[in-house]
Amino acid sequence: MNYNWNWSVLVTEPYLDWLISGFYWTISVALVAWIFAFSIGCLVGIGRTLPNKFIAGACTCYVELFRNVPLLVQMFLWYFAMPEALPEEWGRWVKRDMPNPEFVTAVIALSLYTASRVAEQVRAGIEAVPKGLAAAAKAHGHGVAQTYRYILLPISLRMVVPPMTSEFLTVFKNSSLALTIGLLELTAQSQQIAEYTFRGFEAFTAATVIYVLIALVATVAM
C-alpha cells in the first residue's frame, strides 16, 4: 500500500477548529450525561434492594427496559419519535425552541441508558454486603434509612468503584452515538475532516488518539 501521509491537514484551519469543537462536545455530552446517570443510577440501584415491593419492582422494570434496548434505538426514539408522539405544541417546542436540541436529546438518551447500567452495579454492590450486617443493624433498632446510610452504602460504594470507572469510560465512548442525530462530536468531526480532505487515516488517527487520552485521564481521575 502506498499512501502519502500528510499530518499537516490536522493543524490547518478550519480542520483544527473542527477537532477542538468535536472534543468539546464529546466532553460536554459525556460529563453532563454522567452526572445524571450516576444520580439516577444510584437511586434506582438502591430502589431495587428496598424491602418495598412496589418500588423495587418499578426500579427493576426501569433497568430491564433501558438495558435491553440498544442505545441507538433509544437515541432515535427520543429524537425522532418522542416529539411526534407529544401534543403538537410541545413537540414543536422540543424541535425548535428548546435550546440545543441535539445536545439535550443526546444527554437524555445517554443518561437514562447509562443509569440502568450504573443501577446494576450499585445493586450488586449492596447485595454483596453480608446479610448479617443488615440484620444486625435491624436488631439494633435501626430503620431502613439508617441501615442504608450507615451500613450498606458506605461498604458497597467502596466495592463499586472499579466497575464505575469502566462505566464512566463507556459514557465517553457511547457519546459518539450522538453523531447519528446530528451532533458534531469528535467522531463526526473526524469523519467530516476525512471527507473534506480525503485524509481518512490522519483524521481517524487523531480522533483515536484523543479518545485514548480521554480514557487515560479519566482512569487516573477516578
Binding site: M1, Y3, E64, L65, R67, N68, V69, P70, L71, L72, V73, Q74, F76, L77, F80, A81, E84, A85, E88, L169, F172, K173, N174, S175, S176, L177, L179, T180, T187, S190, Q191, A194, G200, F201, F204, A207, T208, Y211, V212, I214, A215, L216
Partner: protein, 218 residues
C-alpha cells in the same frame, strides 16, 4: 402525523425480517470470532512472554478506550485501502466487530482464567504437563464453564451493538427499520416496534443467563 398506523409494520415485515436475519448472523459470527481471537489474546497476556503480553495488553486497552463507531469507520473506509482490495460492507463490519469484541472477551476470560485456583496449575506442572497442555486440559475448560454466563451476556451486548452498522448503511434490523420509518413517515410506530423487538430478544437472553447462573450455583 399524530394518528398512528401500525399497519405499515405488517406490510414491511419481509424486509424487516431480512434485516433481523443479518443482525443475528452478524452477531453469531462476531461472537465466534471474538471468542477465538479473545482467547488468543488472553493466552498471550498470561503467557509470561513479556513482549507478547505487552502487545496483547496494549491492544486490549487501546480498543477498549475507542468508541465502536470509530472502529467501524476505520474498517469500513480504510481496511480496503490497506488490503488493496474491497472486502464488502458485511465483512468490513464483521472484521470491525470481531477485533472490537475480542478485546472485551479477552478481559472476561482473563478474569475467568485467573479465577481457576492456582493449585490446579501446580498440580498440572507436577504431573509433568507443559504450559499449553495445562491451559488446554485443565485451565481453559474450567474457565470457560465459569465464564459462560458472562460470555452470553457480552453476546447480548454485541447484538445491541450491531445496530451501529446503521452508520455505514449496512442493512441490519436497525437500518431496515429506519428506512421504513423514513420512507413511510411512520417514525413513532417503527422505532417503538424496533425497540420492542430488540427488547424481547435481549430480555429473553438475559433471562436465560439468569437461569444458567442459578443452575450453576446449585
Amino acid at each position: 402525523m399524530t394518528d398512528f398506523d401500525f399497519g405499515v409494520i405488517w406490510t414491511s415485515l419481509p424486509f424487516l425480517w431480512e434485516g433481523l436475519q443479518l443482525s443475528l448472523w452478524l452477531t453469531f459470527l462476531a461472537v465466534i470470532g471474538g471468542i477465538v481471537l479473545g482467547t488468543l489474546l488472553t493466552l498471550a497476556r498470561l503467557s509470561g512472554i513479556l513482549p507478547l503480553a505487552l502487545i496483547a495488553a496494549g491492544y486490549v486497552n487501546l480498543i477498549r478506550s475507542v468508541p465502536l463507531i470509530l472502529v467501524i469507520f476505520w474498517f469500513y473506509f480504510l481496511v480496503p485501502l490497506v488490503l488493496g482490495r474491497p472486502v464488502g460492507s458485511f465483512y468490513s463490519a464483521l472484521i470491525a466487530f470481531v477485533l472490537f469484541e475480542a478485546a472485551y472477551y479477552s478481559e472476561i476470560m482473563r478474569a475467568g482464567i485467573q479465577s481457576v485456583a492456582k493449585g490446579q496449575k501446580f498440580a498440572g506442572q507436577s504431573t509433568g504437563l507443559g504450559y499449553w497442555q495445562i491451559q488446554r486440559h485443565i485451565i481453559l475448560p474450567q474457565a470457560f464453564r465459569n465464564m459462560i454466563p458472562i460470555l452470553v451476556t457480552q453476546g447480548i451486548i454485541l447484538f445491541q451493538d450491531t445496530s451501529l452498522v446503521f452508520v455505514v448503511s449496512l442493512r441490519d434490523f436497525m437500518t431496515t427499520s429506519s428506512i421504513v420509518a423514513r420512507t413511510e413517515g411512520r417514525l413513532v410506530e417503527m422505532y417503538v416496534f424496533a425497540a420492542l423487538v430488540y427488547f424481547v430478544i435481549c430480555f429473553t437472553g438475559s433471562v436465560l443467563v439468569k437461569r444458567m447462573r442459578d443452575r450453576m450455583a446449585t
